[in-house]
Symmetry: C2
Subunit: 118 residues, 2 copies
């Protein structure tokens, strides 16, 4: 499922583990200040905005179950089920670009139509 | 971006290349008859149902641009932008399980709310 010789995957998994445990402050330790994220809700510019969004999401997050995790020198790709309070299991995928040990780019993907309209 | 020593990734890329060229009949050559797919529209059981769904989708498909592609002995994971007639670029991810050179499981993910309601 995973290739732990990939330095980018190690960073991505450190982020993912903290994220799924609703400890996004710890996840941010491996995120560059100028990280750029693509999300189902649009682009998110910078670490502060990412942390704000994920900290809000943490209120409905229950955990995650990994499907597949791969990486190479500078990139990593995960697929997993996200477990949330409104929807028990949401297939999700996240791509990470890692530079100098920090995440500089995230592409986050899930089908947001699975969530009830707010 | 990819590790071509992975036999599962080679099969997944053969599928993906044919799929993006709207030649799903060729893609089916590496798909097991009893393939099980998870899609944003629900589960799809069997190769025939998969081929029917993808052949219909081919009418709006224009192509795809790879973001990342990884694999190991039996699984592969892709992320790419799907280019369609109604929506120019849709972030997409697909997981493949490969057994004896054939795809036996697909988990296909995109945000279907990006498409206009039919």
């Amino acid at each position: 499922m995973s290739n732990n010789t990939s330095p980018a995957l190690q960073v991505a998994l450190a982020y993912h583990e903290a994220w799924k445990n609703r400890d996004h402050a710890t996840a941010m330790k491996v995120v560059a200040d100028n990280v750029v994220s693509e999300t189902p809700f649009g682009p998110v510019e910078g670490g502060e905005a990412l942390h704000k969004g994920e900290s809000e999401f943490a209120h409905i997050l229950k955990g995650a179950t990994m499907v597949a995790a791969f990486g190479d020198e500078t990139t990593a790709l995960l697929m997993y089920y996200t477990h949330t309070i409104p929807v028990p299991s949401v297939l999700s995928s996240k791509y990470f670009k890692v530079e100098n040990g920090k995440i500089t780019e995230i592409k986050a993907l899930f089908d947001k139509s699975q969530f009830p309209v707010q």
